[in-house]
């Protein structure tokens, strides 16, 4: 025996060792496989689900926030437009009210002025007529005194004097 050992002994399974390996390994498989590895792999899987769920929830939340932000932006824009519109309308209204008031005041003033003119004219005419009457009366009296005789207040004289008075242009 040159090598000092039997090479086949290495390749020959030993009954006792086969028995113990089977016992130990099967016990390990049943005990650890069932009561430790199954819960562990389940926990890993559950956690994977939890993480992916949380990630997708976060993604959704992000999208919602973006949606809300864009909504807010459009709302803000709308509100700005609305306020600008309202301001513009108010300005227009103010302008129209002012011009209207202006116009109506002008009209009123014109009316008052016109009516005042009419009144003045009427008064003037009345005053002139009065003056003319007075003048004719005075003229008659003056003439009577001048002539020393009472002029007949006939129609002839009267009309003559009136014609004279007419000729006197007051203006």
């Amino acid at each position: 025996m040159l090598l000092g050992f039997d090479p086949m002994s290495l390749l020959t399974p030993d009954l006792g060792l086969v028995f113990w390996t089977t016992l130990v390994f099967l016990t390990f498989w049943l005990l650890v496989g069932k009561f430790a590895i199954k819960p562990i792999t389940k926990a890993i899987k559950d956690r994977e689900h939890t993480i992916s769920d949380a990630l997708s929830a976060a993604e959704n939340a992000k999208q919602e926030v973006q949606q809300m932000q864009s909504n807010n932006a459009s709302l803000l824009k709308e509100a700005r437009e609305e306020s600008a519109k309202i301001l513009k309308e108010a300005k227009e209204l103010k302008d129209s009210i002012v011009t209207e008031a202006h116009n109506s005041a002008k009209d009123e003033a014109a009316k008052i002025v016109a009516s005042a003119k009419i009144e003045i004219d009427a008064q003037k005419k009345a005053a002139l007529a009065e003056v003319k009457n007075e003048v004719s009366k005075l003229s008659l009296e003056i003439a009577q005194k001048v002539i020393g005789k009472e002029l007949d207040s006939s129609k002839e004289h009267q009309s003559y004097i009136n014609s004279l008075v007419e000729k006197i242009n007051v203006n």
Partner: protein
């Protein structure tokens, strides 16, 4: 490993008259005895004058005598001090195995002892069981949270086995086979790693053919018990092949059923045993060179050469420990995957 070192040391002291072939054959014998199983965990041999003193961890012997039917249970230390033996058995100090006290062979009884390999397996079993239950508790406690402590060391490995081994090969049914795949991976791994630890014996349990045989048998049973109609159809009557070809093909396919697990068995055995032999052979360099030169100088030179190589080989063995556990698990997953694959979908794609 230590046992070998001290044994070889005594050889050196014994004398220089030994011939070169004797040195070689003794080294080989020591290596092979180390690689093989033993009934005690030999730690060191101390030479005290002419007396050799063996320091070893005693292991329980459970022996069943074939002829008398007597079951003997005792610690291997009982056999140490008695040359005449105990209950008809004695210890062969050369091989550290129990032999019949009369015939000096191992044929007369069944040996169900807790040998050093069984001791190694039980130690690994204990370590793994504690670790896995501790991890399980932390998973139950930290539901949905990031792993903590030892849990975060093991989770990447488990996750790797799920994502890279189970899912790609087993498809939707991967969960059913996960406990086996994870168990077989860690069981091989812990035995490989314990085998690399010196002083507890550097025990070669995962490199023992009995160990790899049992694991390969488990894989064989799992593959074939889960094989579907298509799997068996491909073995017995390969579709699309002329009838006469089946006469050749079917026996080959049937042989394949056995060969696939047999290859698993031999690969693990070869790699781990080979690694142990390589480490021991390099350690032997120190003693061989010491003996050849018959001086301590020769041993020093041997050490100078051997230690860097040894460091490298040991580092490689560490890698191989992981690699072989992974390869065994991966191939088992691939073979199961092939047996449970639904061929309908595969054929529609062509």
């Amino acid at each position: 490993m230590m046992s070998f070192v001290s044994k070889a040391n005594t050889e050196i002291v014994k004398g220089n008259e030994d011939k070169k072939e004797d040195v070689a054959s003794e080294v080989v014998e020591h290596i092979m005895n180390h690689v093989a199983d033993a009934n005690e965990n030999h730690i060191a041999t101390i030479k005290d004058g002419e007396q050799e003193k063996h320091i070893s961890l005693p292991l329980p012997c459970i022996l069943y005598n074939k002829t008398t039917g007597k079951l003997s249970v005792f610690l291997s230390s009982k056999l140490h001090h008695s040359e005449e033996g105990y209950e008809g058995y004695k210890m062969d100090h050369h091989t550290s195995r129990v032999v019949d006290a009369v015939t000096g062979t191992r044929d007369t009884f069944y040996d169900f002892s807790i040998t050093k390999n069984v001791f190694n397996m039980l130690l690994g079993f204990l370590i793994l069981t504690v670790i896995f239950f501790v991890i399980k508790v932390s998973y139950v406690k930290n539901v949905g949270k990031a792993p903590k402590g030892i849990q975060s060391f093991f989770e990447p490995i488990i996750q790797f086995l799920i994502d890279e081994v189970a899912k790609p090969n087993l498809g939707t049914q991967y969960e059913k086979f996960l406990p086996y795949l994870i168990c077989v991976f860690f069981f091989i791994l812990i035995n490989n790693l314990l085998g690399l630890v010196p002083f507890i014996g550097g025990i070669n349990s995962s490199g023992n053919i009995s160990f790899t045989l049992v694991l390969a048998m488990c894989s064989l049973l799992l593959i074939n018990l889960n094989g579907n109609k298509h799997y068996w159809q491909h073995i017995f009557a390969m579709p699309g092949v002329p009838k006469w070809v089946l006469i050749i093909l079917t026996p080959i396919e049937l042989l394949g059923v056995i060969l696939k697990p047999a290859v698993l068995m031999l690969r693990l055995f070869g790699n781990i045993t080979g690694g142990h032999i390589a480490v021991l052979a390099i350690v032997s360099l120190i003693f061989i060179m010491g003996k050849m030169g018959t001086t301590i100088g020769g041993a020093t030179a041997g050490g100078a050469i051997a230690i860097p190589i040894l460091l490298f080989v040991n580092a490689m063995e560490l890698f191989v420990a992981f690699l072989q556990a992974y390869v065994f698990t991966l191939l088992t997953a691939i073979f199961i995957g092939a047996a449970i694959e639904d061929h309908h979908h595969a054929e529609e794609k062509h």
